[in-house]
Amino acid sequence: MAAPCPLPPPDPQFVLRGTQSPVHALHFCEGRQAQGHPLLFSGSQSGLVHIWSLQMRRALTTLDGHGGQCVTWLQTLPQGHQLLSQGRDLKLCLWDLAEGRNAVVDSVPLESVGFCRSSILVQGQPRWMLAVPGKGSNEVQILEMPSKTSVCTLKPEADAKLGMPMCLRLWQADCSPRPLLLAGYEDGSVALWDVSEQKVCSRIACHEEPVMDLDFDSQKAKGISGSAGKALAVWRLDGQQALQVCGTHQLTNPGIAEVTIRPDRKILATAGWDHRIRVFHWRKMQPLAVLAFHSAAIQCVAFAADGLLAAGSKDQRISLWSLYPCA
């Protein structure tokens, strides 16, 4: 049976080179900083954060604040002038980037050496909430920023045996002001925490391997998680705040380092250990493309507001892809 000949997979629009070290974190910033041209931040294993101009396609600045230890997570605060970087030097740095400055203005000490990325929730200026892996191996710590006041520590019940938290996502439902946290655990389960009550609302064991990353679409109340195994899991949150598995999607090769839903919630992309980026239709979970360019494991994927996709790999390159343009 002859299948219709599929279109050849596209090429990257451009490839950024020069990190000289595996890329572990990517983040787009649509600030007004570069006169309407978005910036891309990349965090490398050598501890550097590169700021790339997407107009020039060149690195503008390099931030060195993690003593040569791997940078695992990058996030800008809404105004775009402040950057958070999490490093394996047990430090979370807050950078001031306004008006050409690039200095660390504050830092939060971390107590977990894992690869678990932090998460923020901006409720109202200037206060925001930060979730970081906690001191105990199974704990998540919630801080109020910028005062760095500890709000609480989310610790599963003793008999739960969830293992370490692997990924975190703070969010807030439109109808309720209560902050919620989705966390993926080492045992392959995803749990929904009510932060104020410090209790697990719901938990599903949707993977057999540790959950590597998850992303959540709060409008559709639907999320997706990837693990070290061969499956992607899609799950839903019902009216009673209970998680339910909607389905799983089997992959040919194991290992998803990051899964990201595009801001317009039309498609999502996964970073595969098999050197490939996979793109899916978010509603139908239909596979759209397998992007082969990198020569080593992909560690992170990120979308810009205009739909541009970036992928960072162990091969020290960052590929940029323009796919299925946003309407």
């Binding site: 090429d11 990257p12 451009f14 490839v15 080179r17 020069g18 000289q20 107009q55 020039m56 396609r57 060149r58 360019f293 020569s295 020290q316 390159r317």
Partner: protein, 1042 residues
């Protein structure tokens, strides 16, 4: 002449007798007598006696009855003399003299001037002219009162008649001059006061009566035979426009009341007067338009430039002063002006431009709706007829039509958009441009001219401001040959780009570009000029307030054009039959081809290679070449237009341009190189190297992505090669990155495109060796040994001298033994004798990391990766690749390879040479077109340098020599003989003695006599054969040895 009589009294005394005499007897002699006396009288005295002296003269003129012409002439001349030295202070006298002089030419029988001698006519004209100049102060104005109308009219028509009908050029000119004086247009210095409004109006009213006569007659003169001389036409034109612009001046006309004021003149005169009310103006304007059109039609092609220059003045004067009253004429007038913008005479051009600028400053066109409408309409109609004109006209016709178009665009400025916004008109205009810009692509040379070394990127941009079209490639058009037409077309497009709606225009021409290959080249040329024009760098702007396209927008537009230009289907066109790649592919498909020598195949090859006349293939390849060149030139022009802003486009542009700089077609490579210069200049790089070096990241991106589709981008390795040659050690990480891609791709395409990769790898190793120079030890030794060899060679001739003594022989033997010692490896003794080996400086470095083995430096790691691939390629099926690889490796790491070469490669190479030799020895001339021949040649050419570099041992050298000896035969093709000789030249460097011996064995030119009687004579094999096929080559080689 000195005035002898200063006082009136003295003068009176002298003049009185002659005056009395003249009054009594009116003869020529008496007049001349008077004139002679007059010449001795001073001006002041003359003024006092003016009336007295004039009396006998006027009396003579007035005396009734027939007179001799000669007498009248002398009287008029004498009168003129008096008037030229005196003033007429009474109006009455002025009027009377005017009438009396005019009457001299009056013939009561006919309307025409009297049939009198030319001398008399001239005298009267001079007299009238002098009279008007002698009028004192304001009496000249009082002269022009309505009552003079009949007499003045008579004089005017008299003069017009003379100007038109006389044969003598002198009289014609004098009559015209006099007419100017009468109409107060005289340009001499004697009329100081300018007229006030009322005076102007009164004169205008008066002169209006003459307008029909003056305008029609002068039109006839102006449009008369070119041969009548330019000065007559120039004067006539001047009088025409000055008169018209005075009588029809909008300034005057707007003050004319509806009802004619009752004037106190007699009825007869009042009938002659004209009232310049609206109807009259309209009618007159219409009639004048007919005349003006006639004049323009005739004068704009007048052969004398001064006439055309005067036409420019006419247009300026009439349009500035009478744009309302002569609104019907505005179109033709503007057309005339615009048509002269590119006149062949620089004076006319300059004046035209001055007038256009003046118009723009005064907002004559833009500020005047009527004129702007007229111009738009003219442009509309020109656009309509343009396609037809461009096909039907000759070069000269095209030139004037396009000049006209250019002028309209210049004058209309931003208002051209009214025309462009009409789809129909834009289409007509573009159709015409596309049509006329069609190239002639039949030139076969373009395809044939190749450039083999594309490495020369050392040129630096010219220091002078480079304008892209200063070095634009000469091209040939189907529909015209005049280079000036091309320049005009470019200017037209630039102006369109400057004033027109750029989005609209670019859209339109991009559409045509995509539509058909027939339009593509022309559309690209037009797009290039549109952008250049839009940047406003070369456009002479007549409309100062015009806002240029903003740089951001322009960059976006350029980006979209560039995308189209460099897209797969427009950039990668077939421009030649790629011999190298073709050869490779052929060989892959038919491995047996290497040895094929059958006639059938060779004839195919030859017919394939030799084009006898431009075939459709050649034409389409030429067309492709031109398309690429035009697009390249466009990129240069875009860079020029955008300046520094172009830097942002380098990421997408530099790669494709650099790729073309290495194109095998000479024209493309030249144009691409000059495009790179333009880019350097625009972006502020001082050399091509600098440009490439600073933008290697963009290049690497292109290379890496294109390597993924190698079949589509077969030249990608070439770009990397060029980049490597222009990079430095700072770029090592970047290079390392892309080399990973190269090696990965090579791994994928071992069978297909290995050859192009091997040269990249070669370039890479060369670059690495250059960026990270050796610490020196090895190279030092190597150079030393080379030096040894050199001196050894130099010694040879001395030892072969005839005057050899026993001591020489002894010395030779000693030397020989010593060298043999060295050759056997006993170097240590030798070194001790010379000097102490310097301590290798590396030891220190090793001390810093005593125990840990340091990770290999990146460059070494890369080199190792490369060599690993090369080892695989050593067993490639393709001989050329094997050789290339060997040369690559051989130049960098001799020892490592020698054994491999000797074991695997050499036997095969030598074997193929030996088996192929008899075939090539028998083959005819077509053999040189076969693959087999090319392979033989390649092997022979490659072996020499390899043997030398790999430093082969004696046994292997013998193998090489044995295989190559057969090719020294005169039976072999000349090229193979040459290549074989080159092998031996290399062998001589490695081992001169055994090579010498080998050659002597083949053919020995001389009998060797021992240097000393005590030694036995030598018997050599070669000496016995007197004539053999190797003789010539051996002799040549032996010559090299001595």
């Amino acid at each position: 002449m000195m005035a002898v009589f200063d006082t009136p009294e003295e003068a009176f005394g002298v003049l009185r007798p002659v005056c009395v005499q003249l009054t009594k007897t009116q003869t020529v002699e008496n007049v001349e007598h008077l004139q002679t006396r007059l010449q001795a009288v001073s001006d002041s005295a003359l003024q006092e006696l003016q009336q007295y002296i004039l009396f006998p003269l006027r009396f003579t003129l007035k005396t009734p009855g027939p007179k001799r012409e000669r007498l009248i002439q002398s009287v008029v001349e004498c009168l003129t003399f008096v008037l030229s030295s005196t003033c007429v202070k009474e109006q009455e006298l002025l009027q009377e003299l005017f009438s009396e002089l005019s009457a001299c030419l009056y013939s009561p029988s006919s309307q025409k001037p009297a049939a009198v001698s030319e001398e008399l006519k001239l005298a009267v004209i001079q007299g009238l002219s002098t009279l008007m100049h002698s009028a004192y102060g304001d009496i000249i104005l009082t002269f022009y009162e309505p009552s003079i109308l009949p007499r003045l009219g008579f004089a005017v028509s008299l003069l017009l008649g003379l100007a038109e009908q006389e044969k003598s050029k002198q009289i014609k000119i004098a009559a015209l001059k006099c007419l100017q004086v009468l109409l107060l247009q005289c340009e001499c210095q004697d009329h100081p006061r300018s007229l006030d409004e009322l005076e102007q109006k009164q004169l205008g009213d008066l002169f209006a009566s003459f307008l029909p006569g003056i305008s029609t007659t002068l039109t006839r003169v102006i449009t008369g035979d070119f041969k009548q001389g330019h000065s007559i036409v120039v004067s006539s034109l001047k009088i025409f426009y000055k008169t018209v612009s005075f009588i029809m001046a909008d300034e005057q006309l707007k003050r004319i009341s509806k009802v004619q004021a009752k004037s106190a003149v007699e009825h007869r005169v009042a009938e002659l007067m004209v009232h310049r009310e609206a109807d009259w103006v309209k009618n007159t304007g219409n009639k004048l338009t007919i005349l003006i059109k006639k004049i323009i039609e005739c004068v704009s092609v007048h052969p004398h430039w001064k006439v055309r220059l005067e036409l420019v003045e006419l247009v300026e004067d009439l349009l500035l002063k009478c744009s309302q009253s002569l609104v019907e004429s505005a179109g033709p007038l503007l057309k005339a002006l615009v048509g002269l913008v590119n006149d062949e005479s620089p004076e006319v051009q300059a004046q035209c431009n001055k007038v256009l600028r003046h118009f723009a400053d005064q907002k004559v066109v833009v500020g005047n709706k009527a004129l702007a409408d007229i111009l738009s309409e003219s442009l509309h109609s020109l656009a309509t007829s343009l396609p037809r004109l461009m096909t039907s006209q000759d070069d000269q016709g095209k030139f004037s039509t396009l000049s006209l178009l250019l002028g309209y665009l210049k004058l209309l400025g931003p208002k051209i958009n009214f025309v462009l916004n009409s789809v129909a008109h834009l289409q007509r205009l573009s159709k015409a441009l596309i049509q006329v810009l069609e190239l002639d692509v039949a030139d076969i040379k373009i395809v044939e001219e190749r450039c083999w070394n594309s490495d020369d990127l050392n040129a630096s941009p010219k220091t002078s401001a480079t304008q892209p079209w200063n070095h634009i490639q000469r091209r040939y058009f189907r529909f015209f040959t005049d280079e000036r037409i091309f320049m005009l077309l470019r200017q037209v497009c630039q102006l369109l780009g400057y004033y027109g709606n750029l989005y609209l225009l670019v859209d339109h021409f991009m559409e045509l570009y995509r539509q058909s290959v027939v339009y593509r080249k022309q559309a690209a040329m037009i797009l290039n000029e549109l952008v250049t024009g839009a940047a406003g760098l070369e456009v002479e702007d007549l409309h100062e307030k015009h806002i240029k396209t903003n740089p951001e927008e322009l960059r976006e537009i350029v980006t979209s054009i560039l995308e189209e230009y460099t897209s797969q289907e427009n950039w990668y066109l077939v421009t030649c039959i790629e011999t190298e790649e073709m050869g490779e592919e052929l060989m892959m498909e038919h491995p047996g081809l290497q040895a094929i020598t059958s006639g059938e195949h060779t004839s195919q090859v030859t017919s394939f290679l030799a084009f006898s006349k431009p075939s459709p293939i050649v034409c389409s390849m030429n067309s492709n070449i031109w398309q690429i060149c035009i697009q390249l030139e466009g990129i240069g022009q875009f860079a020029y237009a955008l300046g520094k802003d172009f830097c942002l486009l380098l990421m997408s542009t530099l790669y494709p341009v650099l790729e073309k700089a290495g194109d095998q077609t000479l024209l493309i490579s030249q144009v691409a190189t000059s495009t790179m210069m333009d880019i350097c200049h625009a972006c502020g790089y001082d050399s091509l190297q600098h440009l490439i070096n600073q933008n290697s990241d963009y290049l690497v991106n292109g290379i890496s992505l294109n390597l993924r589709h190698l079949a589509l981008h077969p030249h990608t390795p070439k770009v990397l090669e060029v980049m490597l040659r222009n990079s430095d050690a700072n770029l090592l990480p970047l290079v390392a990155d892309v080399v990973q891609d190269v090696l990965a791709t090579l791994d994928q395409f071992y069978d297909k495109r290995a050859a192009s990769f091997v040269s990249v790898l070669h370039a890479l190793l060369a670059a690495l060796a250059q960026w990270f120079p050796d610490t020196g030890n090895l190279r030092h030794l190597h150079e030393q040994s080379l030096g040894e060899e050199g001196s050894h060679l130099n010694q040879r001739p001395a030892t072969l001298e005839n005057s050899t003594t026993a001591e020489d022989i002894e010395q030779f033997l000693l030397n020989y033994l010593k060298e043999k010692d060295v050759a056997d490896g006993n170097v240590s003794d030798f070194d001790n004798e010379e000097e102490e080996q310097p301590v290798p400086p590396k030891v220190e470095e090793n001390d810093t990391h005593p125990d840990v083995e340091p990770p290999l430096p990146l460059q070494i790691q890369m080199a190792m990766d490369v060599m690993e691939r090369c080892i695989h390629l050593l067993s490639d099926k393709n001989l050329q690749i094997r050789l290339k690889v060997l040369r690559t490796l051989g130049s960098k790491c001799g020892d490592f390879l020698r054994s491999r070469f000797c074991k695997d490669v050499l036997p095969k190479l030598a074997g193929s040479l030996v088996t192929q030799a008899p075939i090539s020895a028998r083959a005819g001339p077509v053999y040189s077109h076969t693959l087999a021949f090319k392979l033989q040649l390649a092997v022979l050419q490659g072996l020499g340098p390899l043997c030398e570099r790999l430093d082969l041992g004696e046994g292997d050298l013998n193998k090489v020599a044995d295989a190559c000896l057969i090719y020294l035969s005169a039976k072999q093709p000349v090229k193979l003989q040459e290549a074989a000789r080159s092998v031996f030249l290399h062998l001589m460097k490695v081992d001169p003695d055994s090579t010498w011996f080998l050659l002597i064995e083949l053919y020995c030119p001389t009998q060797f006599t021992p240097p000393h009687p005590s030694l036995h004579p030598v018997q050599l094999r070669g000496a016995s054969r007197q004539q053999n096929p190797y003789m010539a080559n051996v002799l040549r080689l032996l010559k090299e040895l001595q």
